[in-house]
């Protein structure tokens, strides 16, 4: 049963191959059919696999295709592994991915590189599916790197602009730091546990490592490094805002369905290791908290519609990390899913806004667009409500679960909870700041444009709206995966706490309303003081992280390189070279160019050898 | 008579050279016949003594060596052709009990001698230090080396069928059927290659009086020329004998005639055939000859060998 698992990554891969090999010669309609159709088929396959899997009631299913390589005791296979976690991930990836592809067929219709765009997108989905379906860490790493490659290709999709190329490079290099850490983690795990098959490895880890042992901490830290890089968490979050250089559907794909969720998935997948290293797990929570607060502040200061969403993504992933850190595995995955819905909705809505307004990104040049762009407005309204965890939207349930789990944690739980709530407050402010500035108030330009939304663009938006609203009622089948680690303690949570969590985002919305819609509070007055201005600058630049890294790594490295421009090591080798040259000059004298001389030396050598042979 | 005795050797040598000398007359008479003219008919009955007259002339002529020639090679060249052709006759089985040696590498020996024979023409032309002679010998070198190849390959079918290089064995192997039947293609190729090897008309491109003024023996006169001349006729006799031995059953024939007569008759037919060729066919151009050899005869002979080998393996 479940023999069609392999079809899931294969279909997008086939789509990629057929698009790449035809090299843009296909008509756009055919490209759209292949590009979106392959993902759609993959979604249908995923759906059927999921239904069969859930109906079978088994805990996990493995499909082995072939052995990839066999070196000594190391023989990772092309094997796919399915359990509840995978089912959620693959449905999100193919489902949301399909909606984004469908949207893209309309969004990118005027782009000359239509075929190239869809080939990259298909490869992206194929790599991400490989990542989540892999039953061993090597195959997972293949998908991991494939995702990295595709993000590079897609962020730099409009490569004629050097800035986009720079952004793509930045994303690639920054995530590479995390990938290196992860590769080291893989080496460590293999050296210590002798296998990279995830389930075997987890069992072996449980059996061999003490809770809190050094090895477990090291392994968990290295894996965390990889996850932090891919999921754009502190301190490797700087690439994500720049990744907005790509076309908007790519941002949607990266933020909602693929790429950034990979880190969350990795930690959830190897959660046993993290449970063996409680200190690291707590670190995960703290990273999540700090990231979500920092990016919340930053988001409030941005002008670019996509950058605001980008920082909100970092912040929401921070929530997921927080959830992972406090051991609320299924809550984190649940938030991952709901976030996929509403963030895809928000990005695609933003795409509609941008496309309709001729690639205008600055929210302060829009204003009052709710009549002009009704579909986008509706998308933003519903997406924004879900993002701010408005009661009974999807985001509300998932964020609620995470925060409650944080509160339940002993020790730092209260602080984590408090931070999460403050983060929710900020979320309310920046989300509705965006909505109010774009869709309410007076128009500040772009009055003539009509909304661009064909059925293939509006359709996905409506589906995502529905999912954002009711997604919270979906129950995800991950209990079996985290059964032994989940803290199911039914805490008594007071209504006060619930009340706080419901009210705080609403306060944020209200403040936002006062500042940006009704105008009762003036933002200019607030900005009058020097302190506020410098704070704004600081937040606007994303807490100066880029500058910090520039000063911390780039400049010292450049300085060191300049210092060593004479290359001290090279001098040593130069000595070797001149020695060789000298010897060469000596031997060269024997090369007279006269054939006779060479023959003579050969004969002489023969004579000497014969003499030696006879006498010895 | 017994094989290899001194008497046999002497007799064979004498006969062969005598036949070669007689061919001077035979050829001219036959050419006359075919070309509707008289030919030599003045000296003796039917002009038979023309041979004697020619011999006297050639022996008494001044044996002149050009002063610019390289004397060593110049003298050596005509000797080589005589020697190698006469040596080749050593392995020919004329009759069941007539022959000089029975060698198990008979055919190879003949081929070896033929390849050495090429030097005669080349050295003759080179040592003459004359542009016509040089041209002739260059042509001769290419022609003879090339056609040696097809000659050798065309013979391999016969060798495969009889399973031996020994010419006497080959004759014995034809008791049921002459090899001309299964090896007709080989026979034709051998015939052509034989004409080319002995540079007889129509393949006398190394000599080609009209273009290069007798080619390699332009500077030769007297008995040295005579040796080239007789050597050519000896080559003719040799090729005819070889064809007889290899493809037409050698000495075998109905018992009313002795075997050696059958051999002589068969060989005589081929000698006449070669003279007819000379009378009938014009000389091709040099490049035509070479491309004909390499592009047509070589593939054909290889194909022949391949098919023969396949058939033998099948049986």
């Amino acid at each position: 049963m479940l023999t069609q698992i392999w079809l899931m990554p294969t279909l997008p891969l086939l789509g990629f191959l057929s698009l790449v090999l035809t090299a843009g010669t296909l008509p756009k309609r055919a490209v759209a059919v292949i590009g979106a159709g392959s993902i759609g088929l993959a979604f249908l396959v995923a759906l059927s696999v999921a239904i069969q899997f859930l109906a079978s009631g088994e805990e996990a299913v493995t499909q082995s295709l072939w052995v990839w390589m066999s070196v000594g005791g190391f023989n990772p296979g092309f094997s796919f592994y399915i359990d509840g976690l995978t089912v959620v991930m693959m449905l999100v990836i193919t489902g949301v991915g399909f909606l984004i592809h469908l949207y893209s067929t309309g969004f990118m219709i005027d782009d000359p590189s239509y075929s190239r765009f869809f080939s990259y997108m298909n490869l992206f989905v194929a790599a991400m599916l490989t990542l989540v379906l892999a039953d061993n860490l090597v195959l997972l790493y293949l998908g991991w790197e494939g995702v990295g490659l595709c993000s590079y290709l897609l962020i730099g999709f409009w490569y004629t602009n050097p800035e986009n190329g720079y952004a793509a490079r930045k994303a690639f290099v920054v995530t590479r730091v995390g990938d290196t850490s992860m590769a080291l983690g893989l080496f460590l795990l293999f050296a210590q546990l002798g296998t990279l098959n995830i389930q075997d490895m987890l069992h072996a880890a449980e059996a061999e490592w003490q809770v809190g042992s050094g090895m477990a901490i090291a392994a968990a830290l290295l894996l965390l490094g990889g996850a932090v890089g891919k999921s754009a968490q502190l301190p490797l979050q700087t690439w994500l805002p720049d990744a907005m250089a790509g076309p908007t559907p790519i941002s949607a794909l990266i933020h909602a369905a693929t790429m950034v969720t990979a880190g969350v998935y990795l930690i959830a997948r190897t959660h046993v290791v993290f449970e063996l290293a409680p200190s690291v797990q707590e670190l995960v929570a703290w990273i999540g908290l700090i990231t979500l607060l920092m990016s919340g502040f930053t988001a409030m200061a941005q002008h670019d519609i996509k950058r605001i969403l980008a920082y909100s993504t970092i912040s929401q992933i921070g929530y997921m990390f927080l959830g992972l850190g406090v051991g609320a595995w299924s809550a984190a995955i649940f938030h991952l899913m709901t976030h996929a819905f509403f963030k895809a909705l928000l990005f695609l809505g933003a795409g509609t806004v941008i496309l309709s307004l001729h690639h205008e990104h600055d929210i302060f040049k829009m204003g009052g667009k709710r009549k002009q762009l009704p579909v986008a407005f509706l998308s933003f309204l519903i997406g924004g409500l879900a993002l701010t965890a408005f009661p009974f939207t999807s985001g509300f349930f998932s964020k609620d679960e995470i925060l409650l789990a944080a509160l339940a944690l002993e020790g730092p739980g209260t602080i984590l909870w408090l931070g999460g709530v403050i983060g929710a407050f900020f979320t309310g402010i920046y989300t509705f700041r965006l909505i109010f500035v774009v869709f309410f108030g007076e128009s500040k330009g772009h009055d003539q444009e009509k909304e661009v939304a064909g059925w293939n663009m509006a359709g996905p938006l409506f589906v995502l709206m529905l999912l954002s609203l009711v997604g919270g009622f979906i129950s995800i089948p991950v209990d079996a995966v985290f059964a032994h680690g989940e803290e199911h303690a039914e805490h008594h949570v007071s209504t006060l706490i619930h009340g706080i969590m419901i009210v705080v985002p609403l306060i944020g919305i209200a403040i936002s309303y006062l500042f940006y819609c009704s105008g009762q509070l003036s933002i200019d007055k607030l900005m009058a003081s020097k302190l506020a201005q410098s704070l704004h600058r600081f937040w606007f630049s994303g807490w100066g992280m880029d500058k910090l890294y520039d000063g911390l790594f780039v400049r010292p490295f450049v300085a060191l390189a300049r210092l060593n421009s004479k290359d001290f090591i090279d001098w040593l080798y130069g000595l070797l070279v001149s020695l060789t040259r000298w010897g060469n000059a000596l031997v060269v004298k024997s090369q007279t160019g006269y054939l006779r001389w060479y023959a003579l030396s050969i004969a002489l050598g023969l004579a000497v050898l014969l003499t030696l042979g006879v006498t010895l | 008579m017994e094989i290899g005795s001194g008497l046999t050797i002497g007799l064979i040598l004498g006969t062969v050279i005598g036949v070669a000398a007689m061919l001077i007359w035979v050829e001219r008479r036959l050419l006359g016949l075919w070309q509707e003219r008289l030919g030599p008919n003045r000296v003796g009955p039917l002009g038979l003594f023309q041979v004697v007259a020619d011999m006297i002339k050639i022996f008494t002529k001044e044996d002149w060596t050009p002063p610019f020639a390289d004397k060593f090679s110049f003298v050596l060249a005509p000797a080589i052709i005589m020697t190698v052709v006469l040596l080749s006759f050593a392995v020919i089985p004329f009759a069941p009990n007539i022959g000089i040696v029975d060698s198990n590498i008979g055919i190879l020996f003949v081929l070896a001698m033929a390849s050495i024979g090429a030097y005669s023409v080349m050295l003759g032309g080179l040592s003459s230090d004359n542009k016509y002679a040089l041209l002739g010998s260059l042509r001769a070198a290419a022609q003879m080396v090339s056609y040696e190849v097809f000659m050798g390959i065309s013979l391999l079918g016969v060798v495969a069928l009889s399973g031996s290089f020994d010419l006497r064995e080959i004759v014995h192997a034809q008791e049921d059927m002459w090899f001309v039947v299964p090896q007709f293609i080989g026979f034709v190729i051998f015939l052509i290659a034989g004409v080319a090897e002995s540079h007889r008309l129509p393949f006398d491109i190394p000599e080609a009086e009209q273009e290069i003024c007798a080619g390699y023996h332009t500077e030769y006169s007297g008995m040295k020329f005579g040796m080239f001349f007789v050597g050519e006729y000896l080559g003719l006799v040799l090729v005819s004998s070889l064809i007889t031995v290899l493809f037409f059953g050698g000495w075998m024939g109905p018992a009313f005639l002795p075997p050696v007569v059958w051999f002589a008759l068969k060989s005589g037919v081929f000698i006449c055939f070669f003279i007819l060729l000379r009378a009938a066919i014009p000389r091709p151009r040099y490049d035509q000859l070479m491309s004909y050899g390499w592009l047509f005869l070589l593939p054909l002979s290889l194909l022949n060998l391949l098919v023969t080998g396949a058939l033998i393996l099948m049986n």
């Binding site: - | 070896a112 050495i116 090429a118």
Partner: protein, 160 residues
């Protein structure tokens, strides 16, 4: 057979010596052919008639024809004699001669240690062929490839 061996051996040595001291290249070539034919006779006397005939056909009959051909094309005939003579100074022979003599003495020194008489038994065409197309078939193929390569290379090199 024994007499034939020594006779042919002597001819081979003498004519080979003539080859390397000749100033006329055509004469040298004739001596070389003679030497090769003498070696062929040696082969025959050693019971290798196939090798002997091939030596005559291929070495003496084909390879040397190539030499003669090239000599014709380069027109090296008698004209280069004076040049050759000027190149062949007596002292030019001393060092190579000594070296070769030393080498020869060493070889003889090694060889003369062994003493074994043998009667040449003929190893015929059949045995050689059976080996050629049996265990050595790969070598035969390689040799044919080598010849093809040589053919192509020679054609390319000699082309104008």
């Amino acid at each position: 057979m024994t007499l034939l061996f020594y006779l042919a051996g002597a001819v081979a040595v003498i004519s080979t010596l003539c080859v390397i001291v000749q100033t006329n290249i055509v004469h040298a070539l004739i001596y070389l052919i003679l030497s090769l034919l003498a070696v062929a006779v040696v082969f025959f006397s050693l019971g290798a008639p196939f090798a002997a005939v091939l030596e005559a056909i291929v070495y003496a009959g084909a390879i040397m024809v190539l030499f003669l051909f090239v000599i014709m094309m380069l027109n090296l005939g008698q004209h280069s004699r004076d040049q050759e003579r000027s190149w062949l100074q007596a002292r030019g022979w001393i060092l190579p001669g000594t070296l070769a003599a030393v080498l020869l003495v060493q070889l003889l020194n090694v060889l003369l240690v062994i003493d074994h008489d043998f009667v040449p038994t003929e190893v015929g065409v059949l045995e050689v062929s059976a080996l050629l197309f049996g265990p050595y078939v790969l070598a035969v193929e390689l040799a044919s490839i080598l010849l093809l390569a040589g053919l192509v290379a020679a054609y390319h090199l000699a082309k104008k």
